[in-house]
Amino acid sequence: MRIVLKKRLTPLPLSRHLIIPAAILVAAILGIFLFLWVEVNPFHAYIEIFKGAFGSPYNFSEVLVRATPLILCGLSVMVAGKMLIWNIGAEGQLVMGGVAGAGVALFLSPHMPAHMVIPAMILAGFLGGSIWGLIPGFLKARFGVNEIITSLMLNYVAIFWLEHLYFGPWRDPAGRGFPGTAILPDLSWFPRFFGTRVHLGLIIGLAAALLIWLVLDYTRWGYEIRVAGANIKAAQYARMNITRNILWIMVISGGLAGLAGICETAGIHYRLQKGLAVGNGYVGIIIAWLGRLRPGSIVLISILLGGLMVGGDQVQINIHVPSAISLALEGAILFCVLGGQVFQDYSLHIRFGER
């Protein structure tokens, strides 16, 4: 018996939508062994995960809360990826967005009209991330420096900045040694909806996804970005300004991650603290490529992963499964989804007989 992968000449019809559900199913089957190993009834555990994530409107709202920064970070990595630029620095850009936005709330909000505070914070968040994204962008466009390394290293710089600020000059004087800034003034808090923690950030994320889709598919600039990503020589040949486009795309990519930062700060934490840099920027890389650089898919995958994270927390609490198990399950799902995507381009043939 032999297993052969054949490249598909035409894209898969409707059944391509079944690839991700099928992959999750495979991962769930693998997970059964995992739970049996720690002597937990796997079906009980799965039901708990599902209930934890989707069992009630409130639980689902928590999933959306979790998905909000993931959507923005996924989009951040995606727009750069469209031009074949690897923005590994979404984490740092997120932090700088949070810092810039919080700075506006802490120090400038008393001096501006109340209704201007939140728009100013969003703008500051975007710009904070943009500037951080522009550094690797400039180095790449001007000197050909590899953006993977520079953007990654800037993550650490950003996190150290954040720590310096909340341990040092911006530390809450009334915080009794708690590492963090003072609570942001109420008028800078993002509105929340329906009595849940779902906040303005979700709307920002969904709007960004829609906007990016429209820009990439229907504008000349979006087209130029896609050409540059698909064939850089053709882009040069067609006299596209690649240097300028690299700079712009990094401004947008960084800005989107920066928005994730300000959304987390002003929507959830209400202060700068350690919890801002928890790896959303890195998960964004996974989401962008799992979503095949498509905005719609990125939103869906963010919600899926958010569900898994929230559900995983629930099992941990309710049936005392070690937290490592829910991480391992997360890993299994990612692995299967990624592996399953092979079938989008290839079909599987099993042959019996000779050799």
């Binding site: 050409v227 064939n231 020589k233 053709a234 000779e354």
Partner: protein, 494 residues
Amino acid sequence: MKGIVKNFQDVVANRGVDFRLLKSEIHSLLGENGAGKSTLMNILSGFYLPDEGEILINGEKVTFHSPRDALDHGIGMIHQHFQLVDNFTVAENIILGMPGPVALNIAAHERKVTELSERYGLAIDSRARIWELSVGEQQRVEILRMLFRKVNILIMDEPTSVLTPREIEQLFVIMMRIKEEGRSIVFITHKLDEVREISDYITVLRRGKVMSTIRPDKVREKDGVVSTELARMMVGREVILEIGKSSVKSDHTLLKVERLSVRGDRGGLAVNDVSFSLKFGEIFAILGVAGNGQKELIESIMNLRIKENGQILLEEKDIAEGLEKIAYIPEDRNGRGSVPDMSLLENFALTDRKHFSKGPYLRWKSLEDKAKSLISQYNITAPSLKMKAGQLSGGNLQKLILARELSQNPTLLIAEQPTRGLDIGATEEIWRELLRLRENCGILLVSGDIKEVLSLADKILVIFRGQVMDIISCEDEEGMERIGPLMAGVKDTR
């Protein structure tokens, strides 16, 4: 190979092909684009599995599941699109994928590669990186790679389409030497005269079927007769290779290049003190062996490369101001002239996008209308505008690029190897199109194909090592005689 059948979705590429290759022979495979030559050879070299039929080597049935299986049986193929890693050196590319100890003695391999290349007269620097080489030089690397693997059956997919007469002669010498060593060569081509010169056997394919297998020495009556006969078998109709051209007279100078010098990727002067001027209404050809500075010359005209010295004027203004008026058909259709992973519609937008913009938006709808009319006007075979450009055959892709560029009414057209790798039918269409267009603009033709240049050009500039050997008018019959030696760098033949 017996009764080979291969289908791709709805397209039948091979319908019951028998093919027999003897030891120590050069066997040519002739046919138009899409006749199934490449598919057949991809099956022989293990890239595809046949749907039906079998392959026998020395009477023994074999099944190849991968190119490596075929290589193990001594069968290697050189593709039309080279399979080289741009950032690797020549030696690294050659040993790539070969089994060997973990520790890599690159210096020893470089020596071996140099030895081998000297033995076959393939002058190549084993430490040069692929991107620094011209297309012609890259091909020599591919040949070396197969020789290095000691294949017994070497399949070459249109190896001559990028070469100039002198390089082709060298290639034929190499091919003869390989044959004398007891190895066999399958030579895929469209070029009839070459086939007669080199092959022991010729198999003609048409629409996936074998039309005939003949020995050229058996039908060698008059030179012309064989070619006409073969051409008729290939296309099923008479092909006229002579294209009528009338001279267009004009005194309006369009492009003026003065004392231009340009550095190559390795720092040396690739273009050295070149001057010429091109008049409105004429086809001005730059003829030379690949890698003699043509690439750098064109890139500097297109403002893609910084010039060292001299100036380039379009209608008496610096060319940088007039780039909009230039249409450019690059040598590398897939790598530069199109985006293979994007749809045909998106490829039509590539250089034409500015005319279809409304504010920030692209007017896809009106572009679609234009693309549709161009597709029918230029006879491009494409089922849908949504299909990817990479799925088009070479001839259709070239027609797409040509259609896109010509439809913008350029003042100056630069065409680089416009018919490289195309079959007779497509070549002829493109030649006619270029001649027709000449009435409205000037054309700078860069080619290594002497026949193409003689058929089309009003003036011929022969370039060698970045220098102008001579500029010859097409009326100068005595000058025509000197073209061959000039391309090889011999100036004085008297």
